[in-house]
């Protein structure tokens, strides 16, 4: 049905007149699990897929009388992330309790930062392709409203057949950074690109491993549509999105759904919807509690979190007891945007290329390793990396680390090509062979398949002569055609079947 996502185009209404265009609005709430040894407020370990309830301290189980103690590493992770996202770091932030009853929330409240979070007012730049050909990239920015520290909940599994719920508290109390992105995006593609960039940044910083499949990065989308010049429409919250690809799908579906609903005279409910990846649509979620009042209250067991910079750092203070924002800033690693710029500058590759390099885990390293071992210019190598290697990897759902073709092998192959020992098409054949992972070197394959380029004139003449001798009919065809003679169809057929 005509309308694509994010399109401002209208279409003809029932009377034939144009309907006003729709402006979709997308904001995101992202929860990133902090990469740390222990939890946000207790000493129990953080580990994926451990036996149920094996990583639960007395505090995590909400035993009466236990108290929270703030984990310094989690604070540092949040400060790093805030700095990388150009936020203002609040030198004083506060902790609050957010109350609701649920089986995976043992204390009956979550400790979060509702009043004054640790970082505010940042921005994230991301790039998209204008079309699908990776030939034109455009840079966009989304504002970061805030980053707050909060506890993760446990996991509950509903066993309807036995009418019971199984609760695993391993995850209860793990540190989260909630990153709130303002509704500056307009479609699934933008949201996906923004989240991908955030993922890369978190992984570069090491503040979160941000693997969506392991629940280390969870994204909820807030979606609404409105006509230009009118106030924002009612928004829905879309949850249960397990990959970046599904994020784009879910958002685009929801935008479509809302537009259709409104154009058919319906209304949008301020509700929470779940993305059903099998059906590719959003469905209303089980109404858990109706309208919730979380009864926020300051967390009385945690004093305000005070951070320092070099100017405000008190003298004679124990370095272990304070977090110095400037110290962290000085030690930030190169962010993806800086990495990409460096790649473009160093190697003369296109910006689009640098995106792909940085986007794919391990690919930059692979590329640079190949460069170390070959004379071929980077601008040519990049083609092999992005067109050949990467497409094979994608076809076979391999990661760079799992590639049967190592950087050594590829470098060898490219050297053969560079030295004009083989042709480009021969090189492609060799690459296909290498991909089989049979342990042969490029040189061995070339010899085996006799793909060497021959420069000896005599040898070449011999080969050509042999071909001509073996294909008399074809030769006649070529000679006749080139001399402009038109053959009768019988002769044509005869020549072709010979």
């Amino acid at each position: 049905d005509g309308l694509g996502p994010g399109s401002g185009g209208g279409r003809r209404g029932p009377q034939g007149g144009p309907l006003a265009p729709w402006v979709p609005v997308v904001g995101l709430e992202i929860h990133a699990q902090i990469s740390s040894n222990s939890k946000l407020f207790s000493g129990s370990q953080v580990q994926f897929a451990a036996p149920p309830n094996s990583l639960v301290s007395f505090f995590d189980a909400s035993l009466p009388g236990t108290l929270p103690v703030l984990n310094r590493r989690c604070v540092e992770a949040a400060v790093m992330t805030g700095l990388a996202l150009n936020c203002s770091i609040n030198k004083k932030s506060l902790f609050d309790r957010k109350h609701y009853f649920y089986a995976d929330l043992p204390a009956g409240y979550q400790i979060t930062q509702q009043r004054v979070p640790i970082a505010v007012n940042g921005s994230l730049s991301y790039s998209l392709c204008i079309d699908n050909k990776m030939s034109q990239m455009v840079t966009k920015t989304v504002r970061i409203k805030q980053i707050q520290l909060e506890q993760d909940s446990g996991k509950s599994l509903h066993d309807d057949s036995r009418s019971q719920t199984l609760v695993d508290l391993n995850r209860a109390g793990v540190g989260l950074m909630e990153v709130v992105m303002e509704p500056d995006m307009c479609c699934g593609e933008e949201a996906a690109a923004a989240v991908r960039e955030l993922q890369l940044i978190l992984q570069t910083l090491g503040s979160s491993q941000a693997i969506m499949a392991e629940g280390q990065l969870r994204v909820d989308a807030n979606v609404s549509v409105h006509h230009p010049g009118e106030p924002y429409g009612v928004r829905t919250e879309v949850k249960n999105i397990n990959s970046i690809r599904f994020l784009a799908k879910a958002i685009d579906y929801e935008i479509q759904r809302q537009i259709e609903e409104l154009e058919n005279g319906g209304t949008i409910l301020n509700e929470t919807r779940a993305f059903d990846s099998k059906l590719g649509c959003t469905v209303p979620m089980r109404d858990k509690e109706g309208m919730q009042d979380y009864r926020f209250m300051p967390e009385p067991n945690l004093p305000p979190l005070i951070l320092y910079d070099t100017k405000s750092l008190p003298a004679n203070v124990n370095h272990q007891q304070v977090v110095n924002i400037d110290w962290i800033h000085e030690r930030l690693p190169d962010l993806p945007s800086a990495k990409r710029a460096k790649l473009v500058e160093l190697y003369g590759i296109l910006p689009e290329h640098s995106f792909t390099l940085v986007n794919e885990d391990g690919l930059t390293e692979f590329f640079e390793n190949v460069l170390k071992q070959t004379q071929m210019k980077p601008k040519k190598v990049i083609g092999w990396i992005l067109n050949d290697l990467l497409s094979y990897l994608k076809q076979h759902s391999c990661t760079v680390k799992e590639s049967p073709v190592s950087s050594v092998l590829l470098a060898d192959l490219l050297n053969l090509l560079e030295k004009k020992e083989i042709s480009a098409s021969a090189a492609k054949q060799v690459f296909e062979e290498l991909w089989k992972g049979e342990g042969k070197t490029p040189l061995e394959i070339v010899k085996e398949k006799q793909l060497q380029l021959i420069e000896d004139r005599e040898e070449l003449e011999q080969i050509c002569q042999a071909v001509i001798d073996e294909h008399e009919k074809e030769v006649i065809m070529v000679v006749l055609e080139s001399s402009g003679t038109v053959l009768s169809s019988k002769v044509n057929a005869f020549c072709c079947t010979a």
Binding site: F58, A61, S62, L63, P64, G65, T66, L67, P68, V69, L70, R97, H99, F101, A103, P106, A107, G108, Y109, T165, V167, D293, R295, F296, M297, P300, N301, L302, P303
Partner: protein, 510 residues
């Protein structure tokens, strides 16, 4: 021997005049014979005797851990004790055996103290009578004292002795009764609105509320996190100083304890108050204050004057708002703190299991008494989005005003404040229960509550006997973290008034 002070008996242990095991056995025996007082919920006889044995070994080797080694103590049943049932006098935690010790319990244990048992309280420390726990009310030992019996005139033939026993006050009534009846040499209580000082006053013992942040709350099952402190009950001020010394100091497990290193102190044997300025806050002449207590208070002020101290009237103008303010803040925190009791991880779980929610509701209805449930409902009301500004935030602002009253007064040259602790002496149980818990708390907390608002240290010192032969105490309030000065003044006062020892007769029903 059991009537001795903690320091005296500690010296006796050191000199071998008595052994820890003997001491422990005598205390256990006295607990049995005073069972009617209902001061103890759990008596940990086996573990206590074991601890006494260990202590004895150390004394024989000449290597006691310190002054507390072998000393029998009791702990209010809202402190976690590993392996020993901890109930908070509630059905919700009946049978709950914690896997860890509260920091203060651990510290006492590390010093070799002998834990006799867990004492009775109002359910979850909510109350001012120690009458609203599921194990029944605590009886004030003074009900069975000669002093009280001599003064009590039977009003009619039908009035049996059973009906004349008086309350301990609360909520740390069990601990106060345990110390008062000589079954232990010190006891831990908790103090949120006066819960250590109030029963101390009614039971004629010393009740110390330390500065907020001085002693760790880790393992103390909270009532109001921003006001709770562990309280110390002993028979004399010197003993309180000893226990304080063993408990105070930063705990990494409690982020609200101060980082400064605590210096334990000994009180001067001849304290001098002549250089001090004592403040008498006029607002503490509160409505309902008995003329008796007013008179005792006045006499006390004279004592200081005659000793050369400067005694002046001061004003804490926001005192009258403290009860309402406390009501809002306390119930809000209660609603929050009690949210964890859902029957899932520990404690009582209802058999109702149609759904998780119905199980929660039934568990909480069955597990909590009316007082607790009432406070949860109030607290949730105050925390609703539409009410938060008008109630919770407003109450926080009023709290700041109350705290500032003290800052101003202490900043103007006053060293210590002298006030009554309670409005009158202990009432008979039958009279006490005529009013509901909330009404009673509102009435009884008025003189003690503000110190919790401001986080200040305060102490009840038994002063005199009332006309009915029951204890009356006075309260001293000091500057933050100036416990040494506070206790010095209290010790001086204690020496002056020479409060009589209880003449405890047989504790039995009619």
């Amino acid at each position: 021997m059991l009537r001795a002070s903690l320091r005296q008996v500690s010296a006796a242990l050191k000199e071998g005049q008595v052994t820890p095991t003997e001491l422990c056995q005598r205390c256990l025996s006295l607990i049995k014979s005073t069972k009617l007082l209902n001061a103890y919920i759990t008596v940990a006889e086996e573990t206590a005797l074991k601890q006494a044995e260990e202590s004895e070994k150390r004394y024989r080797r000449g290597q006691p851990l310190g002054i507390l080694d072998g000393i029998p103590i009791a702990v209010k049943d809202n402190f976690n004790t590993a392996g020993i049932e901890t109930t908070c006098a509630s059905n919700m935690l009946k049978g709950y055996i914690p896997p860890y010790n509260a920091t203060v319990v651990q510290k006492l244990q590390d010093q070799g103290a002998v834990l006799l048992g867990k004492t009775n309280l109002d359910e979850f420390a909510m109350g001012s009578g120690s009458t609203d726990g599921v194990f029944g009310p605590v009886r004030n030992p003074w009900s069975y004292s000669r002093q009280y019996k001599e003064k009590s005139v039977p009003k009619s033939d039908s009035e049996r002795e059973e009906f004349k026993w008086v309350i301990t006050g609360g909520s740390s009534g069990g601990s106060a009764a345990a110390v008062s009846s000589f079954t232990c040499f010190a006891a831990l209580g908790s103090d949120t609105g006066g819960s250590t000082r109030n029963p101390a006053a009614h039971c004629g013992v010393v009740g110390l509320k330390p500065t907020y942040g001085l002693i760790s709350r880790h393992g103390l099952i909270p009532l109001v996190n921003s006001m709770d402190v562990p309280g110390i009950l002993t028979r004399c001020v010197d003993d309180a100083a000893v226990v304080l010394g063993s408990l105070a100091g930063h705990d990494p497990k409690d982020s609200t304890t101060i980082q400064d290193v605590f210096q334990p102190f000994e009180l001067p044997s001849l304290p001098d108050v002549s250089k001090l300025c004592i403040g008498i806050p006029k607002e503490y002449n509160a409505p309902g204050l008995s003329s008796e207590i007013l008179s005792v208070w006045s006499k006390a002020a004279d004592l200081f004057k005659n000793a050369g101290a400067k005694v002046i009237e001061v004003s804490l103008p926001h005192t009258r708002y403290s009860i309402v303010c406390y009501h809002v803040l306390c119930t809000a925190e209660v609603a929050s703190n009690m949210a964890r009791f859902d029957g899932l991880e520990y404690g009582h779980r209802s058999d109702v299991n149609k759904s998780t929610e119905s199980m929660y509701a039934a568990t909480r209805r069955e597990g909590f008494n009316d007082v607790v449930r009432g406070r949860i409902l109030s607290g949730n009301y105050f925390l609703l989005k539409q009410n938060y500004e008008n109630y919770f935030v407003k109450a926080q602002k009023v709290r700041r005003l109350i705290a500032n009253d003290f800052v101003k007064v202490f900043g103007s040259g006053v060293d210590i404040l002298l006030t009554p602790t309670t409005l009158k002496d202990a009432v008979p149980y039958m009279e006490f229960i005529k009013e509901d818990n909330r009404t009673r708390s509102t009435q009884d907390d008025i003189l003690t509550q503000a110190a919790n608002m401001a986080g200040l240290p305060a102490i009840n010192v038994p002063t005199a006997l009332s006309e009915r032969g029951l204890p009356v105490g006075l309260q001293f309030i000091g500057r933050s973290f100036q416990e040494k000065q506070l206790l010095t003044v209290a010790k001086w006062f204690e020496k002056q008034v020479k409060f009589p020892m209880i003449q405890l007769e047989e504790v039995k029903g009619a």
